[in-house]
Symmetry: C2
Subunit: 243 residues, 2 copies
């Protein structure tokens, strides 16, 4: 994909962009941000499979930018663990999760997310509660077909639910800690990982968390979240005993 003529692009970039290239660098700024978003979306959508090479020059050609912003975007992405730099061989998408990786990830989530739920409970307000309820409604109504595209909405709602709780702690460090984990969780969900086996139970667990939050009982919220994550781990481990 090399965008043919010039000036007119496929339209990947938001409205604030214009035709750089050529002569007038009109748009200015944050081109690297768009590259970052684009790469992140590709990773999340599964367009870039684990282990695949991410060429700097190639990506620059695809997105019709110079290698410099691509390099900057990849440097940021590397810090999240989504891609790895192999020395002087370029970047690669991080390899698939092993069983041990998954266990570690769940261990880390168990350390952080129940605390998030407890703190979020203390700092909840009607607006935030409404956001959570809205997300849970989306989770319930999302289609859950067999193919990836059919439960994409479900996974996104699931991720958003946990992310909202992290944000509602009003603690930038906990938000950051969860964000680092959440990206991995999301990536794991998409690949070899846990599908939506037993979605009904998962929804019920989310409902329990939300009930505890709305009832204003921090301890119960913490316990409900811990129980949910443990159940997620159990289901995933039972599903994929392979390897």
């Amino acid at each position: 994909m090399q965008k043919a003529s010039n000036g007119t692009r496929a339209g990947n970039l938001p409205e604030d962009q214009t035709g750089r290239k050529g002569s007038r660098t009109v748009s200015r700024q944050v081109l690297a941000d768009h590259v970052y978003e684009e790469l992140l979306a590709s990773l999340m959508d599964g367009r870039l499979e684990p282990g695949a090479a991410v060429s700097i020059d190639g990506t620059a050609r695809d997105l019709d930018v110079s290698p410099t912003p691509v390099r900057e975007a990849l440097a940021r992405l590397e810090h999240t663990g989504m891609v790895r730099r192999v020395a002087l061989k370029g970047y690669r998408v991080a390899p698939v999760f092993t069983r041990e990786d998954f266990a570690d990830l769940m261990e880390a989530r168990l350390a952080i997310e129940p605390v998030n739920a407890r703190l979020a409970c203390a700092r909840l307000n009607p607006h935030r509660l409404a956001e959570l309820e809205q997300t849970l409604t989306e989770l319930k109504s999302a289609p859950r077909g067999p193919s990836f595209a059919e439960y994409k909405d479900y996974l996104e709602a699931d991720e958003r639910f946990h992310q909202l709780i992290a944000q509602q702690t009003d603690n930038q460090f906990l938000v950051g800690a969860y964000a680092a984990l959440g990206g991995q969780v999301q990536r794991f969900r998409l690949f070899g990982g846990v599908g939506i086996t037993d979605a009904e139970n998962a929804i019920a667990e989310h409902q329990s968390v939300l009930d505890a939050l709305s009832s204003g009982d921090p301890e119960q919220a913490e316990a409900a979240m811990a129980a949910h994550i443990q159940k997620v781990r159990e289901r995933a481990m039972a599903d994929a005993p392979e390897e």
Copy 2:
């Protein structure tokens, strides 16, 4: 960029570097890594004060490299929260901590570090225990003078103690989560922050953590670490009730 004579530099870069520039780009690779390390050291040492601007071109001149690797290093650094990008005005060192920031940071540490201690306890081995004991010895013997340079070793040993415990969980995600926090802790220690008030108590608390670890009681290790962090918070809050 003219960097005086040439070839002879202040000597910032490790031995593996050579005189690129000129004609032969001999060294090759990872130049951005050295820039990253250099900037990180400057931040930790306090050479770069909070709020100070970090010019891309200026840093490139100082380190005698081109702006490209500096840009890449700063992009990575931004993701850690040590520096912030202000849109199109360049990078700045993150501002000093407020009381609320400190409280948030301790809240996050309380969520993660006691769990780390518990898990590290289960996965401890003689070699690792020896490392911890060594670090604690260094902590006890480190000079604790009034000026920064005089308790730098103390702070480094303190940081290393906590970092070792995180690493001993054998969980990459927990290591990453602590690393993100630990950098902030270290930075906070150096600035407005908590000095070494009541170092004797702090040392005793570290000793308690180590005792619990060596005794093989995970619950006690978790409790000791939680108690330590709470005490750190109390001392810092009592010290700087200002603002």
